[in-house]
């Protein structure tokens, strides 16, 4: 019984759960618990490693060249490399009283005979990272089993009294665009479907002035709004029906159609796209807001990589922009300008809408004043649609971001010598520009001009790149992560990791004149040009994906935008935490690369 407890503890630590029962028995008879007080030096280049440690409580910091390289805490284990290669350049120091399991060197090496364990410990970053991710997804519940009826779109129920004439009921059904008529009887409800109408009115002898109650079928099949969608599907299959009536506290709140149910699970992204195209008024578009969020939630729960979700969302958002643009700008003006989105929207990194960054490029020779009113309207429409206001006022409603081509060129000119924070910031935003409506060649022209202006201007580039080092990567002493006290021990994902990566990659792309705006595509392009090697590129992409997906989770749970960038690593699952830590390590590696590439240590 009690040896079982020890065993369970070990088995809960990846990859030990992969071990067969006999190997595990064998291992259990070789494991000791050790205690090391604060400050103990466990392994160093001169003290060779004698055991494999699995932490029960406490923490250990790994230093390489006196720099914190990693921090291990409860559930973590170390250090396979030191045991396998018999030496290490790292130093492992206990920084919080350590209680740990110890597997002696020989026993650990025996354990490595097991292929699965071996592959886990001998993998490089990328494979290990991917394995952890897969492992993580297995534990996700299938969305099919956890989605509730309340999560899905419900049709308005058309409820009429039994005394109503068939004609009157059909009129009402028409108005409400309902698929069926629900008839309120003295006791309970009955239903009139198209089949009833065909059989009893068109083919039968009833005429439409008769009472609707006379042609209704008894036995309404219902489901509670809090029930699982899976049960709704079972109900439909079992009763061979195409819809169920949804109740909330015994009251009818809507009708769930089989078609919606199925398309819900098929992520119904195409439906959203069609609906955007069909929208003719602002309120049509507004209705779609919830669909966006649902789409993100469903795709995420299905384990779709965040980079594909953001791509899809970006495409849909561009459609919305285009639609709003058409609503606001007169037809004859549309090809005299280009509407561009910048920042995260331009990079197509956006999932849930953060602030809007947009601008308008106007053809030379056209009066810019003509665009003032339409752009004000466009801005207010976007705000109404739930695209939050930009704090830096990077919006078409601001005159600064509504200029003609030559005026933009002057601005770019200024960016090449003016090193003020504001200019660097504006340049950074503009670098991510993507055209969504109007004459897109206007933007192409500017981007080409931008690239040629910065050609061989490594001094300015270094200055821009410097921002990568602005924020410390939060991987350090404090139990594995440096947490910000004022934010309830949470860490800032954007500042701590995403920014450095996005900005660094962006600056490199300016230097190498790469036109792509999406961070992942940019990394791939940089790899194609030989700026970074294949392994490093993949590491960067995987890290970016991990950070984005953890951030997305935080955003979905956060109540305000400000809160959305903060996460508390303690609330993450162990695997997630490992993934996060690994990603931060790659970010650090990237920062070093940037420092070296732009000689940042020489830039003041």
């Amino acid at each position: 019984m009690s040896i079982q407890d020890q065993r369970k503890l070990i088995e809960s630590i990846h990859p030990f759960e992969l071990l067969s029962s006999t190997t595990m028995d064998n291992l259990m008879s070789k494991i000791d618990i050790a205690y090391y007080p604060n400050g103990t030096l466990l392994i160093s280049p001169t003290i060779s490693s004698i055991a494999f440690y699995i932490i029960i409580k406490g923490s250990v910091t790994e230093y390489i060249d006196d720099e914190v390289h990693n921090v291990y805490s409860a559930g973590d284990s170390f250090d396979a490399d030191a045991l396998i290669y018999g030496k290490t350049k790292a130093k492992f120091v206990v920084d919080e009283d350590l209680i740990c399991y110890e597997v002696k060197k020989e026993d650990f090496l025996d354990l490595m005979q097991d292929k699965k364990v071996q592959s886990y410990f001998l993998q490089d970053f990328i494979t290990r990272h991917q394995q952890l991710k897969e492992y993580d997804q297995q534990s996700d519940l299938s969305p099919f089993l956890i989605s509730k009826v309340s999560d899905i779109f419900l049709h308005v129920a058309c409820v009429v009294d039994a005394d109503e004439s068939i004609y009157g009921a059909l009129k009402k059904q028409q108005e409400l665009r309902a698929k069926v008529i629900i008839v309120k009887e003295v006791e309970g409800y009955s239903i009139v479907t198209d089949t009833n109408l065909r059989q009893r009115v068109l083919l039968g002898e009833n005429d439409i002035s008769k009472k609707i109650g006379s042609i209704a079928s008894k036995g309404l099949i219902t489901i509670d709004v809090n029930d699982f969608l899976f049960n709704a599907l079972l109900l439909m299959t079992h009763n061979a029906i195409k819809r169920v009536v949804v109740l909330e506290n015994e009251r009818i709140v809507g009708v769930l159609e089989q078609l919606d149910l199925l398309s819900y699970f098929a992520s119904h992204s195409h439906l959203v796209a069609v609906q955007i195209d069909k929208a003719s008024t602002l309120s049509d578009l507004k209705l779609l807001d919830q669909d966006f969020k649902n789409l993100i939630i469903t795709l995420r729960a299905k384990g779709v990589k965040v980079r594909y979700i953001t791509k899809l969302i970006a495409t849909l958002n561009f459609k919305v922009y285009k639609k709003v643009f058409e609503m606001c700008v007169e037809e004859e003006l549309r090809d005299k300008c280009a509407l561009i989105v910048m920042g995260s929207e331009g990079r197509e990194d956006q999932t849930l809408r953060s602030d809007q960054d947009n601008a308008l490029i106007i053809q030379n020779g056209i009066d810019t004043e003509l665009f003032k009113a339409p752009m004000m309207k466009l801005n207010s429409h976007l705000l109404e649609l739930g695209f939050p206001k930009c704090n830096g006022d990077v919006m078409v409603s601001n005159e600064f971001w509504r200029r003609n081509t030559s005026s933009y060129k002057e601005l770019i000119e200024k960016w090449t010598y003016d090193m003020s924070d504001e200019s660097v910031q504006n340049l950074s935003i503009f670098l991510d520009a993507k055209c969504v409506a109007g004459d897109c060649t206007l933007l192409d022209e500017l981007v080409t001009y931008l690239h040629s202006s910065f050609h061989s201007r490594d001094d300015v580039l270094a200055h821009i790149a410097k921002a990568v080092l602005n924020f410390e990567t939060p991987l350090s002493l404090f139990s594995g992560f440096v947490l910000e006290k004022e934010y309830n021990n949470r860490l800032d994902l954007k500042k701590g990791g995403i920014f450095a990566l996005v900005h660094g990659v962006r600056t490199l792309c300016l230097q190498y004149e790469i036109k792509a705006t999406n961070t992942i595509e940019r990394i791939k392009e940089l790899n194609n040009m030989g700026v970074i090697d294949k392994t490093f590129a993949t590491e960067l992409i995987e890290s970016f994906d991990t950070l984005s997906s953890i951030r997305l989770k935080a955003m979905l749970e956060a109540k305000t935008i400000d809160e959305a960038n903060y996460i508390n690593p303690r609330n993450l699952e162990k695997n997630q935490r490992d993934l996060l830590k690994d990603s931060f390590k790659i970010i650090n590696k990237f920062k070093k690369f940037m420092s070296f590439h732009f000689h940042l240590n020489m830039v003041v």
Binding site: M1, I3, I31, D32, A34, P37, K57, E102
Partner: protein, 206 residues
């Protein structure tokens, strides 16, 4: 003076030993190891109650040798009261493979040898074991005994003289930063006690 009395007592105890095969209990210990042990019993009165299980683990230097865990369940003369089942969680069913008390105690004595004993409220566990050894061998456990709550008390009292010190097991666990391993059973409690012991004797800050 005290040394003299304890030597005298040991001698008296040894002279009562009925079975020469157990001489090893009195030999000087050279292993450098300690044994932490805990028992689960039918109740709290050593006169009436019986041992249900014994869990023990060795400590060497800063290590708890969980690779050599000792755990034994003992047969009982009486039915286990439902009240005590709630505490130790040992059901009559769990005792179906149990050993006779004699076998169990002999195995335990072989495991312990003449190593010093460590425990929490050790006096109770030792007197429970003594009850059997007296009957079987005529002796009480001659081993040196180390009470963790006493070490804890000494360490804490120096910081808060005249203070009331909470000596409950769970409190000590928490104060020493030992993870609670869940279910209370003889082996788990022995391991946790061992962790407390290591914490108290090795930790620098306390």
């Amino acid at each position: 003076m005290f040394g003299f009395i304890s030597r005298f007592k040991t001698k008296a105890n040894r002279s009562k030993l009925k079975d020469k095969n157990f001489e090893f209990l009195f030999q000087e210990d050279r292993s450098g190891e300690y044994v932490v042990f805990d028992t689960e019993t039918t109740g709290l009165d050593p006169k009436k109650d019986e041992i249900l299980s014994i869990g023990a683990v060795k400590i060497k230097d800063n290590k708890i040798l969980t690779s050599q865990i000792f755990e034994v369940f003992l047969q009982n003369s009486k039915e286990i009261s439902s009240k005590s089942i709630k505490i130790h969680g040992i059901r009559p069913f769990d005792l179906k493979d149990a050993k006779t008390t004699k076998e169990g105690i002999v195995e335990f004595l072989n495991f312990v040898g003449s190593r010093p004993l460590v425990g929490y409220y050790l006096e109770f566990d030792v007197s429970m074991v003594n009850k059997y050894t007296k009957e079987m061998l005529g002796i009480t456990l001659p081993n040196k005994m180390i009470e963790v709550s006493e070490i804890y008390f000494d360490k804490t009292i120096s910081m808060i003289p005249q203070g009331n010190i909470d000596l409950r097991f769970d409190t000590i666990l928490k104060k020493c930063g030992i993870p609670n391993m869940g279910v209370h059973n003889a082996v788990n409690d022995a391991i946790m006690t061992a962790m407390i012991y290591l914490n108290l004797t090795f930790s620098k800050k306390k």
